[in-house]
Symmetry: C2
Subunit: 77 residues, 2 copies
């Protein structure tokens, strides 16, 4: 699958859903963990949000990983 033209927002959403579900967390529980709104998490996963680095950091921290690890995916290579 050629990922070059896939919008970054969609890639971020895909990566978040992949990691969140791997941890077995609901959107609600995850949103609570990273102190973000559930509907915001849902819209990120739908590829609708141009997320800021500060919120990426909150998300990565809630996933118990660094920002480097969050972006360590073929989606972003």
């Amino acid at each position: 699958m050629n990922l070059c033209n896939v919008d970054i927002r969609v890639k971020i959403g895909q990566r978040l859903r992949e990691l969140r579900t791997k941890k077995g967390l609901s959107q609600e529980k995850f949103a609570f963990t990273c102190d973000l709104d559930r509907t915001y998490i849902a819209s990120i996963e739908q590829g609708k949000r141009n997320v800021s680095v500060a919120n990426i950091e909150k998300i990565a921290t809630a996933l118990d990983m660094s920002i480097y690890e969050f972006f360590k995916s073929d989606l972003f290579k």
Copy 2:
């Protein structure tokens, strides 16, 4: 140097300056390359901007690298 409490905005600014200067580009030339305003690039490098992923992607592309490579630094581990 313990990077844990360094604000993500400052880390992004440091990383951008490191990579831009490594390529020998002025802020002005770099801003033109990534179609962003020079003063915006300057304020990112001063650690004052909570940059969005879409702009991080523009910056990484102008640096001829992927977002994964942009974050592949001890600053973000």
